[in-house]
């Protein structure tokens, strides 16, 4: 009798437990779809990129925007660094489209260049940018061409970021001005130059791409297309020479790995993202005697874009937010001064709002050099070829 009672009791307990778990799950699920307070707009902002991209929206942009429009609440989603971050946004939008949803739950997204070709092929983006007032400030080639895809109307550059060579002035008084000179320098100073190859982040990828531009001498074709498979031979040859070069350098553990080794003076030179480098410098994590330079024929850089999904729920508010972010004031105070990026819009309208100190940082690489040696990444097929061949040829 007792055992029967016990059994029923444990049975009841079990049912209660299952009910509680089910209730919690349903509760969480419902919350996702919960309507916000009437009159309040919930704007969903998804961003790829490093953690600073989340800080940008959460700590700076969202509070400012909400101060102006108290009825708007910005919910930010961070999908992670590098292109996988953009891929997650792409797959989320594609899933929403495939599920036949009328309104997708992302209003504004910040994405890498490669995303544009994926998303436009699937028709996932809204043609919006020419209809917002700040479009008149958009002057860069990036706003029209993303790795060979024509994107006019579908995105506004949030910022431009550049890869440059950092060097330690204590050991390197006359930094190399070209890849050619760099090779000679490395011959004389083995294991004092470091880059992160292609599996550890884009600063290494950029260095490799620049090498291929130099060795093949075919920047225009590689960066603008059209695609020609026959170029694989030239790329292979360039990479074979890179393999020899790599024997005398250190392969670091990623973008931050290169910065770490530079800061500890384990290497004296290496490719870095300018904005990461400047932020480290400003935070005192990088000794001030480490400086930046560019190499001829050039090193690549890239923008990130502000886009609106084709079926965003709050298109008008999304446009308002993008207008706010791409205004000369926000670009000056936030993008340039706070985050050390190059502005996404015309520098001529941004610079008057930038402090002298930030200007000095921004121009540590002279604008003429930037103009001459700041290149684009290759169109996506060549880019894929370079990366795949690197693994086959270099390792």
């Amino acid at each position: 009798m007792g055992s029967v009672l016990l059994r029923t009791r444990s049975g009841i307990l079990m049912i209660v437990a299952i009910a509680v778990i089910a209730a919690v799950i349903i509760g969480i699920a419902l919350q996702q779809f919960a309507p916000t307070t009437p009159g309040k707009v919930r704007l969903v902002y998804a961003t790829a990129g490093d953690i600073n991209m989340l800080a940008l929206i959460q700590n700076v942009i969202a509070p400012e925007f909400t101060k102006r429009y108290p009825n708007v609440e910005i919910a930010s989603i961070h999908t992670g660094p590098g292109e996988p971050g953009s891929r997650i946004i792409f797959e989320k939008l594609k899933a929403a489209r495939d599920a036949g949803k009328e309104c997708w739950d992302v209003d504004v997204a910040v994405v890498h260049q490669i995303f544009m070709s994926w998303a436009l092929k699937e028709g996932l983006l809204l043609n919006y940018s020419t209809s917002i007032p700040t479009w008149k400030y958009v002057v860069s080639e990036d706003a029209y061409n993303a790795l060979g895809t024509y994107i006019k109307g579908f995105g506004i550059p949030l910022f431009h970021s550049q890869i440059a060579i950092a060097y330690n002035t204590k050991y390197v008084q006359n930094p190399p001005r070209s890849y050619d000179e760099l090779v000679k320098w490395v011959e004389a100073n083995p294991k004092k130059f470091g880059h992160n190859g292609i599996r550890g982040g884009m600063s290494g990828v950029g260095f490799v791409v620049g090498w291929v531009y130099w060795k093949t001498g075919m920047y225009d074709t590689l960066a603008r297309g059209p695609y020609n498979e026959a170029l694989k031979d030239a790329i292979t040859k360039a990479l074979e020479e890179l393999k020899v070069f790599n024997e005398k350098v250190v392969i670091t553990a990623g973008n931050v790995g290169t910065l770490d080794m530079l800061a500890r003076e384990e290497i004296w030179m290496g490719p870095v993202w300018v904005d990461m480098f400047m932020t480290w410098l400003a935070e005192g994590r990088m000794p001030p005697h480490i400086k930046l330079t560019l190499l001829a024929p050039g090193l690549p850089g890239q923008p990130m874009y502000l886009v609106i999904p084709a079926k965003a729920c709050n298109v008008e508010w999304a446009k308002k937010l993008i207008e706010f972010i791409s205004s000369p004031e926000t670009q000056a105070k936030v993008i340039v001064e706070k985050y050390n990026w190059y502005p996404g819009i015309d520098p001529n309208v941004v610079l008057p709002h930038v402090s002298e100190e930030a200007k000095a940082r921004l121009f540590s690489i002279p604008p003429e050099d930037l103009q001459r040696y700041g290149k684009s990444f290759p169109v996506s097929q060549y880019f894929t070829d370079i990366l795949k061949l690197y693994e086959k040829v270099v390792g």
Partner: protein, 286 residues
């Protein structure tokens, strides 16, 4: 009675449904999917091209992964056996308590934190080399760069040893004091007791500890990604991430995944079958 047993089986079935659903949807389904994706080409036909790509381009990395993970598990095993033996056999109550508490520390530190620690600890001008240079062991300008298999080995051992020691310690705890005391009375030393009593009787736990550690080493991404980065050779997990990140290429990523399942699976089956069975039977006989 019949009615009751039917009722009972329905009840049991209902109770099993939640866990069964989770098992099927979260484990079995992705597992089968991974195998499928790795043997199908873009037009949906069966193919082995992804595997042949892996073995032409990444063979070195596959071997490297297995070797480093096995070696790390082996070193962890030796250290954890000595820790567990000491705790089990030591008569010094105070020190035993301290050791018993301290060795668990790394258990609560996530792998990504371990990786970051190792990056500053093992760097050419990092803590370890600076220390060695201060004592005059090495010249800081020629300090070795340990960001290769050695860095991985140290990271894995640091992180996994406590976990292994915990399992092995529980195996040792199951060995009755009677045996140990009897051996002591007959004059057996500590090493002898470990070798002839503890190890054979806890064989099952040791095998499980080794297999689990090996499997978890093979599946680790953060440590090799942060220590080795883009250098060659690297581990399979880093390459999987690279294939997906840059090429959206799930086929080769999954082919690598299936290879790691196969390695871990075959290894565990062979090893555990042998060791656990023997261990259990021996214990029953005792």
């Amino acid at each position: 009675m019949d009615r009751n047993s039917v009722k009972n089986s329905i009840k049991i079935f209902l109770m099993l449904i939640p866990s069964l659903t989770i098992l099927l949807s979260v484990y079995l389904y992705p597992f089968i999917l991974a195998i499928l994706i790795s043997v199908v080409d873009s037009s949906g036909r069966l193919t082995l091209e992804h595997y042949s790509y892996v073995f032409t381009v990444y063979a070195q990395d596959v071997v490297f992964t297995i070797a480093v993970c096995a070696l790390s598990a082996l070193v962890s095993l030796l250290i954890s056996i000595s820790i567990a033996s000491y705790i089990r056999l030591s008569l010094d109550e105070g020190f035993r308590k301290i050791l018993n508490w301290i060795f668990r520390f790394p258990l609560f530190i996530p792998m990504v934190v371990v990786a970051q620690m190792m990056r500053t600890f093992l760097a050419p001008h990092g803590f370890l080399n600076t220390l060695l240079a201060q004592i005059g062991f090495i010249e800081l300008q020629e300090a070795p760069n340990l960001f290769d298999w050695r860095g991985l080995l140290i990271g894995f051992v640091w992180k996994q040893t406590p976990f292994m020691a915990l399992i092995i310690l529980s195996g040792f705890a199951m060995v009755s004091d009677v045996h140990i005391d009897a051996a002591r009375v007959l004059g057996a030393g500590r090493l002898y007791i470990v070798r002839r009593i503890l190890l054979p009787m806890a064989r099952g736990s040791i095998a499980i500890a080794f297999a689990l550690t090996f499997a978890s080493n093979i599946g680790t991404f953060t440590l090799p990604y942060m220590i080795i980065g883009g250098a060659k050779p690297t581990t399979m997990t880093v390459i999987m991430a690279h294939r997906v990140t840059y090429f959206g290429d799930w086929s080769i990523a999954n082919a690598l995944g299936v290879i790691s399942y196969a390695v871990v699976g075959l290894f565990s089956i062979a090893y555990l079958r042998e060791a656990v069975r023997a261990g259990v039977y021996e214990r029953e006989r005792v």
